[in-house]
Subunit: 263 residues, 2 copies
DNA sequence: CTTTTTAAG
DNA sequence: CTTAGAAAG
């Protein structure tokens, strides 16, 4: 059984200070897809010493974004960024080809999409990046191989994926135009393992604002995903969001999404 | 007995979080001269509710400098800043005239001089401000009244006022030109109560860097003072720096200088 | 309400 | 090494 976890850590230093290390020791994922690392390369390596293989896309803007892949399996290739010419060093996309124990390959991707704010340029950047992701997803399915794209997409797909969906119909992260991207990806064969193996909902959510009692009230959003190609999806056995009460310690505003694959 | 304390709090919010409130309850000064308040007016007032009279000079630059006077005695006048035309709102000088219980008046000043860095414009600003202070001190002595100027002058007067004096002969805070200002003020009759009542030294120091083990090694500087006019100085009975072991909790990089006056 | 960075000390 | 503010989430 191969365990792949995705987690927006909201600053890996803060996360470890708040107890991420305990979760890691307990869960022991084989592959960890990280978003919002918010640290330089050398610093990330400190948290994953001997035994881990690392891929990391640091953002040019210090302390912002940053995606990483920590893997117990060796990496045969690493690809950083999406698109060309246009800002590729934004710390939002990193891929690694892994060598499975029984032989064969698995491509894992850690993705971090823009949060976006309606009426600001960040929304245009989000859509532009979504277009790049769409193009790359098409390439990744074309080969027919095993691929998982995990990360914080900063979009809730449907009403069951967000507690206060009525109040957020005009909010970034639940706009019809954003959700349509997910519709298209799923229509093209990408499988939403968190939903398929997580029940019909509402929930489980993966993100809660730090403000007020959002977490205690489970007033959250499901914006973290593991999207798998057909070749991989059928091997998925369980999908779990590691939040309270099973995992009580809150070391990020997101909770990890952990999927077990029969590989 | 009237107790006047001066303290560079290095951010009043952080100081209270670290235990300044306990010190205040224990020491119960009648007058508290504050430097580096680093907070807006309204916020300072929150820490000194009913029973306190407040004077406050907030710096224009938010979160920087800021001097205040908190007094159990009523204030008959408040004067903010030094000089005119030139930046007067730098949060470095505030005066209050207090009404003594037995009748009579006492002028108290809270002063915060620039730290300064050799070879930078901040050094010129420090000297320019020192000139303004010299002029104001002359005015304050002219009346022959009781005046105390307390605060962080960011200058150690003599070798006994700094642990590593040899290593700091070319460092801001111990430059001959800076120390000459203190010489002139003392020559003009201002009395250095911390030294007069604190023994011959070396020490006691009032500031230690946060870095390394400066505090544990008592590798400090005496840069906080209570300077009194002749009319007031003879009433001073004790001068104490509230640092470990008597006061163990460190809630600022400075320790308070507390003087008891027989008034 | 939290993150890392910044400038200042 | 710490403070508070800044920008971003």
């Amino acid at each position: 059984m191969l365990t792949i976890a995705t987690a927006n850590v909201n600053g890996i230093r803060a996360a470890f200070k708040r107890g991420m290390g305990g979760w890691l020791d307990d869960r022991k994922p084989d592959v960890l897809l990280l978003q919002e690392v918010r640290a330089p390369d050398a610093l990330l390596a400190d948290f994953f010493p001997a035994g881990w293989h690392l891929a990391h896309s640091e953002a040019e803007a210090k302390g912002r974004a940053g995606v990483g892949i920590a893997s117990r399996l060796p990496m045969s290739a690493i690809r950083i960024g999406l698109g060309q010419g246009v800002p590729t060093n934004t710390g939002r996309w990193v891929e690694a080809d892994l060598e499975l124990p029984e032989g064969g390959a698995l491509t894992v991707v850690s993705a971090y999409l823009h949060s976006g704010t309606v009426g600001t340029p960040s929304m245009d950047e989000k859509y532009a990046f979504l277009d790049l992701v769409s193009a790359r997803l098409a390439e990744l399915t074309a080969g027919g191989g095993r691929v998982v794209v995990g990360g914080d997409l900063n979009i809730a797909h449907a009403a069951v994926d967000i507690k206060n969906w009525k109040g957020n119909l005009k909010a970034a992260g639940f706009l019809p135009a954003e959700r349509a991207y997910l519709d298209r990806w799923f229509g093209a064969g990408w499988r939403d393992l968190g939903r398929e193996l997580g029940g019909d909902g509402p929930g489980p959510y993966t993100w809660w604002s730090w403000r007020g009692k959002a977490f205690d009230n489970d007033s959250g959003w499901r914006i973290d995903y593991q999207l798998a190609t057909a070749a991989l999806a059928d091997a998925a056995r369980t999908a779990t969001v590691d939040r309270a009460p099973a995992y009580d310690q809150r070391w990020s505003d997101h909770a990890p999404l952990v999927v077990e694959y029969d590989l």
